[in-house]
């Protein structure tokens, strides 16, 4: 449990803040501080730190505000560019992954469709209506090729567009 502060610390702080401490302060207060550990520590520490600040103030040499402002703007620009480059890299990676995935899926679907079509052609009877469907086979190949082209070309277009930005 903390011991309570000396009740005369406020009085001492006022004397310190007003510049009366120690010479112009009340004699009775000085006598008290000479005997009170808490107040003596306060007086020593407050006076030492305030004096130290004054003593080293002439050494304070922060860079000029204009230089700091310029460096901040440069740093913000650099960080903005780095963030944009990171976004582009991520987008490119995503495009590559999506394209590869789509192509893989297309290959699998094409193969499954071909297998299914062969199985149907071999096992099912061939009524006249089914014979007409067989004519669609070449056109489905065309559709698959077109879809594959779109899947390949679209990401490349997006890639180029993002890279230019």
């Amino acid at each position: 449990m903390n011991a309570p502060d000396c009740q005369r610390q406020d009085e001492l702080l006022d004397a310190l803040a007003s510049g009366q401490w120690p010479d112009a302060s009340d004699r009775e207060l000085r006598a008290h501080v000479a005997e009170c550990t808490e107040c003596a520590a306060l007086a020593v520490v407050a006076t030492s730190i305030a004096s130290d600040r004054r003593d080293i103030e002439h050494l304070a040499s922060p860079p000029p505000s204009g230089a700091v402002w310029w460096r901040m703007q440069m740093r913000m620009d650099r960080e903005a560019r780095e963030a944009a480059a990171k976004t582009v890299r991520r987008t490119h990676s995503a495009i590559v992954l999506v394209t590869l995935g789509a192509l893989g899926a297309l290959l699998v679907i094409t193969r499954l469709a071909g297998t299914a079509w062969s199985w149907l052609a071999d096992t099912m009877p061939r009524p006249a209506e089914l014979a007409t469907l067989q004519h669609l086979a070449p056109s489905m190949t065309t559709v698959v090729v077109a879809a594959a082209s779109v899947l390949v070309l679209a990401p490349i277009v997006v890639w180029l567009a993002v890279a230019e930005e």
Binding site: C6, W21, V45
Partner: protein, 193 residues
Amino acid sequence: MTTTIVTREIALLRDAKDETVEVSSSLMDEDAFRAFYDRTSRGLWLFLVRVTGERQIADDLLQEAYYRFYRAGSTYESEGHRRNALFRIATNIARDAWRRRGGIVNTPIDEATASIVDHGMDERTDLARALERLKPKQREMLWLAYANGSSHEEIAEVVGVAPGSVKGLLRRARTKLAELLGNAPQRTGKETR
């Protein structure tokens, strides 16, 4: 005489902190930033020198603190709040730097002194040596209280402690520093009236 000048400076600092300034809603413009920097940079630099114990580190941390403060783009009710926010950022990055260096509390005084002298700051004082023996939080609180004239609420805001605990923490820090300065008087029965 010296004490009078110093205490008047503290009083002026207190007055300046209460001035109301315009509320900003985004990043400060150049004029506003430069004016704020000119008002606060010397005080912050001194704070960082005494908290870190090294001028070079203080230089680096000063710019980092202003950069983070600027990027935050926060809104403040008054100059005092804005100033406290800046000091809070500076305090946090000073502690981070201190942790990265593995702490300087136990750094031999000779090494620390050499570091300052190398950077041209040969006005090494007993106080600076004694401050290095304290914990970072104690250094921060003592400097804010007696060099900057901050109130307990402001100290709590900057250092990141509960306002109610500032008084006790300050007292322990004062007692420790007074002992290190070799000026602690003999204990008497009147110490905690």
